[in-house]
């Protein structure tokens, strides 16, 4: 079965770029969430295999999303990447301590994201 990747990111361009990067990798279904709320709504209904989230979003921040995901019984061990514009080292530290598996800095190299996805979702 195709693995599902949820991308929570408010910039449509960035979502598109992430989705194309994933598409180039092969067989994945990308579910796009334009903000944190959409992600909150999608997560209970879809069995998502990987979550990629931005930090700065208009409704809830990425850290809060990470915290939520890690509290949900279904998602305690689901791989989770944060992609954010580099900035606060504190935000990064917090993200990792909340249980994110990786923290990518924008602009990220597509290969970097692809290698992470292979690492976590590879056969």
């Amino acid at each position: 079965m195709q693995k599902k990747i949820l991308v929570a990111e408010d910039s449509p361009t960035m979502r598109y770029l992430i989705a194309s990067t994933i598409a180039a990798l092969g067989d994945f279904t990308v579910i796009e969430a334009g903000n944190g709320f959409e992600a909150l709504r999608i997560l209970p209904h879809e069995k998502v295999d990987l979550v990629i989230t931005d930090i700065n979003m208009p409704d809830i921040n990425g850290l809060e999303l990470v915290s939520f995901i890690r509290q949900s019984p279904n998602y305690r061990t689901t791989p989770l990447f944060i992609i954010s514009t580099e900035g606060s080292a504190r935000d990064r530290e917090k993200g990792m301590s909340l249980g994110a598996n990786a923290y990518l800095v924008k602009p990220f190299a597509p290969e970097e994201l692809q290698s992470l996805i292979r690492q976590y979702l590879g056969e």
Binding site: S11, T13, G36, E38, P44, N56, S67, T85, G87, S97
Partner: protein, 687 residues
């Protein structure tokens, strides 16, 4: 990424950049106003501005636009320090942000043409660094006494806001709620809006709901109210409020053991009788999550063209139906005519629908103008109040885009030459602050824009002198006030010799007039020396599909856009009189100048048999009127105007061509151009 992917990505980038920059502009204007009025600045606004710059940096970086990315990076640092309270908010800072926005916009526009386009961004970076060096305010202390589990999910900015709230003596409350997964966004937004009246929502932490199909939220809320007061305000048993900082005593009747555990949070629960929300409302709100779609204007044009072709096909079918009925009237022909009428109505709705999609509020350019006025007035030390009205008036997107340049020129003239320096105004007995009005309103099929200022106005004598010096009129010419003001629209006319940074870039009012005319619009000027100037621009609402009056002259058909036709008259040749070698006629006690298309287009004059009757199509734009003499009126029809292309763009008096549907192509008259022609003729008489 493949080529087509990357070109789509670039388009997305441009569209999103433009959106972000426009929003930044609006937010900066709001921020500037807040400072000017000495009011409190909403921390949320600062954060939104920061987020704008941040997103923009993110997407620029992905495209390898190093200049944009670096500039945004510095802008972001500045905004970050600002929202974290490390740099004070000053007019200089706002000024810098506006100029950054402008250079970002220029860069993006440049990249739209060529991805290699760049500009020297160093001066801007130095300006930001200078502001950041002034960074004297100390870093905020870490919030003490707050559960580290809560602090863990706060971004640095949210932590800063938390500290600020504590510093200003606010209570930090935790508001916990459960919502249905179906409607939580709306309910949460409603709660947040409600809370915002009493304090600041610092963060929103979601958690798995207590019930299946539910989701929980813990809002960190900074307010002057105590938990109990807030509970009374919110009146909901589903909302649990806990005071996190400082630990407070709760009113005695509830009898919580608060005293013995001063550092422990205290829960307050309040019983309430509020009913459940309306189910239907919730379902409806779900759909409103993302209601807008961004569409390439070319696609809309294409759609419009197809609708246009459909309209033409419909005309052909209607004509056939009518013919059939005339030949043989039976049930079938009656049915056909009924069906055709149904088609016609639906088509009209479709056409209207596509038109509506193209319409955008004129606020899109008004906002830009506000920014220009603000910047220009700051630079020149002038004080200007803006009076913007009718910004919600809608116009075709293409018109709005092409209106930007001419409008900017007029606005710059108003700031630069119109409004006087404060001292000069006071000396003239005016208030220190000048006023620029920017009004828009829809009048029938037109949108009328008025751009006014209460500045020094135009000196008619000086204009006249200048025109004589430049050889544009003869010294003996007798001109009305209106004629004199119209001289400023002639090529090569400018009353100011020095070149300023604002206007006077070699672009004159003649270019403005041509730009407006290219949109089938008209511009008029009125001024009172010492009191101010008023420019009135009249524009059609759309250019895509128009209703036209089809006329015949010397055996050729022409289309006249119906929105400039005021009335049609049938006259006898004897009604035409000649005054000063020009043909005119009397229309309700007024003299109406007449224009013969045979003369304009050098057509052979056909000797008419029988009566010497002909028709006059009275056209008007703004306050001007002329009568166009034609041989025959054919009827009204919808036409889709197509441009004649660059090769034929010099042809005067023609706005484009239109397909009539029966494989016949006719020319559409450029009424504005023809009226200018007539006006120039009048001016020429004075020379």
């Amino acid at each position: 990424m493949s080529d087509s992917n990357s070109s789509r990505a670039i388009k997305d980038f441009l569209a999103e950049s433009e959106e972000i920059l426009e929003q930044l502009n609006l937010d900066l204007v709001t921020l500037g106003d807040a400072i000017e009025n000495g009011g409190d600045v909403d921390p949320g606004l600062l954060n939104t501005i920061f987020r704008g710059a941040h997103s923009f940096k993110g997407i620029s970086g992905m495209f390898g636009f190093d200049d944009l990315c670096e500039l945004c990076h510095h802008m972001e640092s500045l905004l970050d320090s600002l929202r974290l309270g490390k740099v004070p908010l000053s007019e200089n800072l706002i000024e810098t942000l506006f100029s950054l926005l402008e250079v970002l916009t220029r860069l993006v526009h440049g990249k739209a043409e060529s991805e290699d386009f760049t500009l020297d961004i160093n001066p801007f970076i130095q300006r930001i660094d200078a502001l950041l060096r002034g960074d004297e305010l100390s870093a905020p202390p870490v919030a003490e006494g707050i559960d580290p589990a809560i602090l863990r999910v706060l971004t640095e900015y949210e932590e800063h806001r938390l500290n600020e709230s504590i510093k200003s003596g606010k209570n930090i409350l935790r508001v916990a709620v459960n919502f249905s997964l179906m409607s939580f966004d709306v309910e949460l937004a409603a709660l947040t809006d409600h809370l915002k009246q009493y304090g600041e929502v610092l963060s929103t932490l979601p958690s798995a709901g207590d019930l299946p199909g539910h989701i929980g939220f813990q809002l960190l809320f900074g307010a002057r109210s105590t938990g109990e007061e807030l509970a009374r305000i919110l009146q909901s048993e589903d909302i649990k409020i806990v005071c996190l900082y400082p630990a407070v005593e709760v009113a005695a009747p509830l009898n919580f053991p608060a005293k013995s555990h001063p550092s422990r949070p205290v829960e307050v629960e309040i019983v309430n009788k509020e009913g459940e929300g309306n189910e239907e409302e919730r379902a409806a709100s779900l759909r409103s999550l993302s209601r807008t779609v961004r569409v390439d204007i070319d696609k809309l044009d294409n759609l419009m063209n197809i609708v246009g072709e459909l309209v033409l096909s419909k005309s052909a079918i209607t004509a056939i139906a009518v013919q059939l009925k005339q030949q043989e009237s039976n049930d079938l022909t009656a049915e056909l005519q009924k069906a055709t009428r149904g088609l016609e109505r639906r088509l009209e709705e479709l056409q209207q629908g596509v038109m509506d999609v193209r319409m955008v509020p004129i606020s899109q350019i008004f906002d830009k103008m506000v920014r220009i006025i603000r910047r220009a007035s700051n630079e020149q030390g002038k004080r200007i109040t803006l009076d913007v009205r009718g910004a919600e008036t809608e116009l075709d997107k293409l018109i709005v885009e092409d209106l930007s340049d001419p409008l900017m020129h007029i606005i710059r003239n108003a700031v630069d030459h119109g409004i006087e320096a404060p001292e000069e105004r006071v000396a003239a007995g005016k208030s220190e602050k000048g006023t620029i009005t920017l009004w828009a309103a829809q009048k029938g099929n037109h949108v009328v824009l008025e751009i006014g200022d209460d500045g020094r106005g135009i000196d008619a004598n000086r204009v006249r002198q200048k025109a004589i010096e430049r050889g544009l009129i003869s010294p003996e010419a007798e001109l009305s006030r209106e004629d004199i003001y119209n001289l400023v629209f002639l090529p090569g006319f400018s009353t100011r010799d020095e070149v300023t940074d604002l206007s006077g870039r070699g672009v004159g009012m003649d270019v403005v007039k041509n730009n407006i005319a290219a949109l089938s619009g008209a511009i008029e000027i009125d001024s009172e020396f010492g009191r101010g100037t008023l420019m009135t621009i009249t524009l059609p609402i759309t250019l895509a599909i128009i209703k036209a009056l089809i006329v015949r002259v010397s055996g050729r058909s022409y289309a006249i856009p119906i929105n400039s036709v005021l009335e049609t008259l049938m006259i006898n040749a004897s009604a035409i009189r000649t005054i000063e070698r020009r043909e005119v006629m009397e229309l309700r006690q007024k003299t109406l100048p007449l224009l013969r298309l045979t003369e304009v287009f050098a057509l052979p004059v056909e000797e008419k048999q029988g009566s010497a009757r002909s028709f006059v199509v009275v056209t008007g734009m703004a306050e001007k009127r002329i009568g166009i003499l034609v041989d025959e009126l054919i009827g009204q029809q919808d036409v889709v105007i197509k441009s004649l292309g660059k090769a034929l763009s010099f042809v005067r008096g023609i706005a484009g061509a239109a397909d009539l549907g029966n494989q016949k192509t006719i020319l559409v008259l450029d009424v504005g151009g023809l009226m200018n022609e007539a006006l120039r003729g009048e001016l020429a008489r004075h020379v």
